[in-house]
């Protein structure tokens, strides 16, 4: 679980967040303050799909599954 969490955090902080003064922690809300825009969410979903080895249907892309890195890994990592 922590491997997946670290991988995802590294991806978000290294690839998605272009503002280097901003760093996401495991429990940082990802969808407040405009951290993730419309392009970044597509990249994030594509990365998670690669991690878990399956496509994520749009119906699963809701706040309760995507609020933080911890929540994402708990929801998708267990499948």
């Amino acid at each position: 679980m922590s491997d997946a969490r670290d991988k995802l955090l590294n991806y978000i902080n290294g690839e998605l967040l272009t503002d280097r003064t901003r760093r996401a922690a495991p429990d940082t809300p990802l969808f407040e303050d405009g951290w993730i825009d419309s392009l970044k969410i597509l990249k994030l979903i594509a990365y998670i799909e690669l991690m878990i080895g399956r496509n994520i249907p749009d119906e699963e892309i809701v706040m309760k599954n995507f609020r933080t890195v911890t929540v994402i890994v708990e929801h998708f990592g267990s499948k």
Binding site: S38, I41, L42, D58, V62, M63
Partner: protein, 273 residues
């Protein structure tokens, strides 16, 4: 009296058509005098709510400039074919674009609450009972800090839900997304809208067998329009915006089908007496 529980939406439509109150004509629908009066009646009720809340009425022209829709990123999210171009501009696909254009390049000293009405048009291919290509949309637009805008949306959602229930409409609130987003990055906008709960629809049950029809929507745009049109709050803080939209013909149709035409039309007469 016949109720919608006893007749299907098609039967009720037939009844309205027989009364010459709801008449499909090609891809358009022509409304009779009682339905038009009912549309005005719903609009007046909404305007009363808006004025009581401190809104100012913004008169808007019949057409909107193509450049305004372009600046609003409309054509990046929706197929251009939806918009009806005519000499001098476009039929607006939604009313609220006029408001953002009006506020372009301004600094707002205090939160703004506006209301306006426009005949709108979307060249949609989807055919659904109650879905008109040309329709009347009343909107209430709120612009201010993130917290204020979010509070406004909640208050309007509560207010209009209660209003619909007072009218005995069978309604529900559902999370929604705009249905005409194109592919590519627009899918990202749609997913963000979904994750953040930016769009809520008030849907009215017209008939037990039919999917409820959206009659209003309650929307948050975050800083999207303030960035597109370069307006901000006075102290340099980014302005957030939100809006409530009313599809007035749909409200009138929901009333006519739920209450029955006679009872629905009598709402107008009660005021006129």
């Amino acid at each position: 009296m016949t109720t919608t529980k006893e007749i299907s939406i098609d039967d009720a439509m037939t009844q309205l058509s027989r009364l010459h109150e709801w008449m499909p004509a090609g891809r358009e629908t022509v409304l009779g005098p009682h339905m038009l009066a009912l549309v005005d009646w719903v609009d007046l009720r909404v305007v009363e709510f808006a004025l009581k809340a401190g809104a100012s009425e913004l008169p808007v022209p019949r057409l909107i400039a193509h450049s305004v829709l372009e600046r609003a990123g409309y054509f990046e999210s929706f197929p251009a074919s939806i918009v009806e171009e005519s000499e001098g501009g476009c039929m607006p696909p939604a009313t609220c674009y006029h408001c953002y254009a009006k506020l372009a390049a301004t600094s707002l000293r205090e939160p703004v609450l506006l209301t306006c009405i426009a005949r709108c048009r979307r060249n949609e291919s989807e055919e659904e009972s109650g879905r008109l290509q040309t329709f009347t949309m009343r909107e209430i637009v709120f612009i201010g800090s993130a917290g204020w805008v979010r509070k406004q949306r909640q208050e309007w959602t509560d207010r209009i839900l209660a209003f619909a229930q007072t009218l005995h409409l069978v309604v529900q609130l559902d999370a929604a997304t705009d249905s005409f987003f194109a592919g590519g990055e627009a899918r990202g906008r749609k997913l963000l809208q979904q994750i953040k709960g930016l769009k809520i629809e008030l849907r009215a049950q017209m008939d037990a067998k039919e999917t409820p029809l959206a009659i209003s929507s309650f929307n948050l745009h975050e800083t999207f329009f303030s960035r597109c049109f370069d307006f901000q709050l006075a102290d340099g803080i980014e302005a957030h915006s939100g809006c409530v939209a009313f599809g007035l013909e749909r409200w009138a149709l929901a009333l006519a089908l739920t209450l029955g035409p006679d009872k629905a039309f009598s709402l107008v007469e009660q005021v006129q007496r």
